[in-house]
């Protein structure tokens, strides 16, 4: 048992840090540091730089552009990206679809899509949830009927994150409505967003942001060659994808960055008789969150260090479920601390010239106007990607035998 990083790992961290400093455009860094999500152009530009360096998809098989790294080395890269902060490689491409294609895709699909996923030449979005299929994902109704060498897709997806930027969508569709179990009649399709019959309608979330969308499919023709895996076995791909999704959701590096920044902000933030940071109640709450985050950092490292054995066991480490549950709770807790630090000036809604074209002087400091918006937005964390309640159902069944 040994906690220290090796000399090689420490040198790698230094190399990553220096490379990011030299390559991350100033406007991207500034926008990320403010707590906003990157614009599409920033995301694409940055991921192309990572791709050129060989760092966009280190966790993929080496033949498809991955790196022969240990899990710890990959963790160091992603932690450095998060703590700069710089945009992380697009999750839909790199953490969700890429690994599914490597595991289930045809040779042609891999050759065509994998390099474009890694380089972000193609931006994918995720078409899973439907108005009637949220936590009960397998009850989805979007239909795909095979006609010759095409599927004809009809139905509706919702909560489709960044569909407005996407070139393609990966979809779960029902191909056999008569299957004995609802999980058995589902297939996994790749669909070009420019195909006639697709309509994207924005959903504005409570923070005022346009992040998610409804996507409608009206007689959309999809070549049979875009089926991933076996027809009616799409649930296997979905389960595989969702289990990969969990480890990344702890986002400890990003939370550490948010905490460090909050400490600097709160030192200056007016708190009546003294700066907010000098209020012992605020500090104590903040420290309490830090303590939990430290524990989560250790849990993340435990899961990563156990990764190889996990593969041979064929069973995830029980600690991996902790990552999604606590990771998202802590992200939310940090967003609450920002709201508390902002106080009354947190009432001002954010002014985002890029979004609404206004260019008035701000009525409050940038971080103050973002505090409540981020807090509202981050309520989603414990809902998407398998809500906390779904995670606990899984734990009770898989690990506790209940």
């Amino acid at each position: 048992m040994e906690l220290r990083f090796t000399d090689e790992e420490r040198a790698f961290r230094q190399e990553v840090r220096e490379w990011i400093d030299a390559n991350l455009p100033a406007d991207t860094r500034e926008r990320m540091a403010s707590g906003r999500t990157p614009t599409k152009a920033m995301q694409v530009d940055w991921q192309k730089r990572l791709y050129a360096k060989g760092w966009a998809v280190p966790h993929w098989a080496v033949e498809w552009g991955g790196q022969p790294w240990t899990a710890i080395k990959r963790f160091i890269l992603s932690e450095e990206i998060q703590s700069t902060p710089a945009p992380s490689p697009l999750g839909f491409n790199c953490n969700m679809l890429g690994p599914v294609l490597i595991a289930f895709g045809t040779e042609e699909q891999k050759k065509f899509f994998l390099p474009k996923l890694a380089s972000l030449d193609l931006w994918f979005c995720q078409g899973f949830s439907e108005p009637g299929a949220g936590s009960d994902l397998a009850s989805l109704k979007t239909r795909a009927v095979k006609e010759g060498d095409h599927y004809i897709v009809n139905g509706q997806k919702t909560w489709t994150t960044l569909a407005q930027h996407a070139d393609w969508i990966f979809l779960l569709v029902r191909t056999d409505p008569g299957a004995a179990k609802q999980q058995e009649g589902i297939s996994f399709l790749l669909v070009d967003m420019n195909t006639p019959g697709i309509t994207v309608r924005p959903i504005i979330t409570i923070d005022g942001a346009h992040e998610v969308n409804e996507v409608f499919f009206d007689d959309v023709k999809v070549p049979v060659a875009n089926l991933v895996g076996t027809e009616n076995r799409g649930w296997d791909c979905a389960k595989f994808l969702l289990s990969n999704e969990r480890t990344g959701q702890a986002r400890v590096g990003a939370s550490k960055e948010r905490i460090r920044r909050l400490k600097l902000i709160a030192k200056e933030a007016p708190g009546g008789a003294r700066p907010v940071m000098e209020d012992p109640r605020f500090r104590s709450r903040l420290t309490d969150v830090e303590v939990q985050l430290k524990a989560l950092e250790m849990t993340t490292l435990r899961v990563l260090a156990d990764e190889n054995r996990q593969l041979s066991r064929g069973k995830p480490n029980p600690a991996s479920s902790v990552l999604k549950i606590r990771g998202t709770e802590l992200q939310q807790a940090i967003s609450e601390l920002y709201v508390m630090a902002a106080g009354p000036y947190g009432l001002a809604a954010p002014n985002d010239p890029e979004a609404d074209g206004r260019n008035e002087p701000d009525v409050a400091q940038d971080w103050q106007t973002l505090a409540q918006a981020t807090y509202f937005n981050w309520r989603k964390q414990t809902i998407y990607g398998g809500s906390t309640e779904i995670q606990k159902n899984i734990m009770a069944k898989a690990f506790l035998g209940l």
Binding site: M1, T287, E290, K294, T299, A305, P318, V322, R326, K392
Partner: protein, 380 residues
């Protein structure tokens, strides 16, 4: 970065688990608790045979030269079985003071006896006013000739009633709450002027209230290190207590999950109810977060940078306390009435976890101090 146990460490874990399986069933434990000493000399002798009492001492002193990871392994097993013997007092605390503060001569005389199970130690520190502050010491040590005269009263000295040697904090200079002027003394429990009143602790262990009335000791009784020594040993003890808490929490979680599967109400196992399933899952989240911190504690217990070690150990104690409280309380809640009884192990885990939470600083104590020291993640 490696969280695995070595082959030897696994062997240690297995052999202790086997010993405790034989000797420490819940009914056997009740018998030990009811005995005059409140714990088992026979089990203590078995620990000695297994080498557990020699573990932390250097080989030159007659020990095995093991580190904090081995202590973690042992303490976790003891937590599972809710053992009552003075391992924490004699080996972890006593061992820490001897290793870091005693002369080679003192260690040479004491370690072999401790290793054989023939000498017990206890740490006499807490005073009626001190609460969790390690620097709050009213007991005095005054120079007299070459030696010292100790005057004062120490409370809740865990296993102080059976100890042969007491490790006592006393003030040689300064005011009651000064950080300077504290020294640590090694005092035979049968020295003239030492009077002990033994009592039962809330979790069924033993402790003593000890008065030092003009107790004369020689110059060699003063260990080297002062308050820094006390803080170092306190941190090592927090690491060991954290591991013990993990053992308690894991056993309590297992007991609860088994109960959820077998207890039937409304015609079905209560574990089929989602509200209980989710709480059991939350217990598991708490256990894993606490386990991560116990591992962090074991791996930082020997950290040379005192301030860094203190900060991390405070974080450990806070997180152990939080999660131990949830797991302990839910063990009782989800069992229902049965875990309210002395007859059943469930409630005893809550009791032990509560005692651990209140040793060497509770959550509020460490949270306040840690927050004063700048928190866990230092701003750039």
């Amino acid at each position: 970065m490696d969280f695995d146990l070595s082959e030897d460490q696994r062997l240690l874990q297995d052999s202790l688990a086997k010993l405790l399986k034989d000797k420490y069933g819940f009914e056997q434990r009740k018998g030990y608790m009811a005995s005059a000493t409140g714990w088992s000399r026979e089990v203590w002798a078995a620990y000695a045979d297994l080498g557990l009492l020699a573990m932390p001492f250097a080989e030159d002193d007659g020990g095995l030269g093991y580190g904090a990871v081995e202590t973690m392994i042992v303490a976790e097993q003891m937590g599972r079985s809710l053992t009552l013997e003075p391992f924490m007092s004699t080996v972890v605390m006593g061992g820490g003071f001897l290793r870091h503060g005693a002369t080679a001569e003192q260690r040479g005389a004491m370690v072999p006896k401790i290793a054989e199970g023939k000498m017990l130690l206890a740490f006499a520190h807490t005073e009626v006013q001190s609460r969790f502050d390690l620097h709050d010491v009213a007991t005095s040590a005054k120079k007299e000739g070459d030696g010292w005269v100790i005057e004062g009263r120490k409370g809740v000295v865990v296993h102080g009633d059976t100890a042969d040697e007491l490790i006592v904090t006393a003030r040689v200079a300064g005011a009651r709450r000064d950080r300077d002027g504290i020294e640590v003394f090694l005092i035979p429990a049968d020295a003239t002027g030492v009077s002990r009143r033994g009592f039962k602790t809330s979790d069924g262990q033993r402790a003593a209230d000890i008065t030092f009335d003009h107790v004369k000791v020689g110059a060699e009784a003063k260990l080297a290190g002062g308050l820094a020594l006390v803080e170092r040993v306190a941190d090592e003890t927090i690491a060991a207590l954290s591991a013990e808490a993990i053992g308690c929490m894991e056993a309590a979680k297992d007991l609860t999950v088994d109960y959820l599967k077998t207890r039937k109400q409304f015609g079905r196992a209560i574990g089929t109810f989602q509200s209980l399933q989710h709480r059991a899952a939350e217990m598991m989240v708490c256990l894993e977060q606490a386990r991560s911190m116990a591992m962090l504690a074991a791996m930082t217990a020997s950290e040379k940078d005192d301030a860094e070690r203190r900060r991390l150990m405070r974080a450990v104690k806070v997180e152990i306390g939080r999660n131990a409280r949830f797991v302990g309380q839910q063990t009782v809640q989800m069992h229902g009435g049965i875990a309210m009884t002395m007859e059943y192990a469930g409630g005893h885990y809550l009791k032990r976890l509560t005692v651990i939470e209140n040793m060497f600083g509770d959550m509020d104590h460490h949270l306040a101090a840690l927050s004063e020291e700048g928190g866990v993640f230092v701003a750039a």
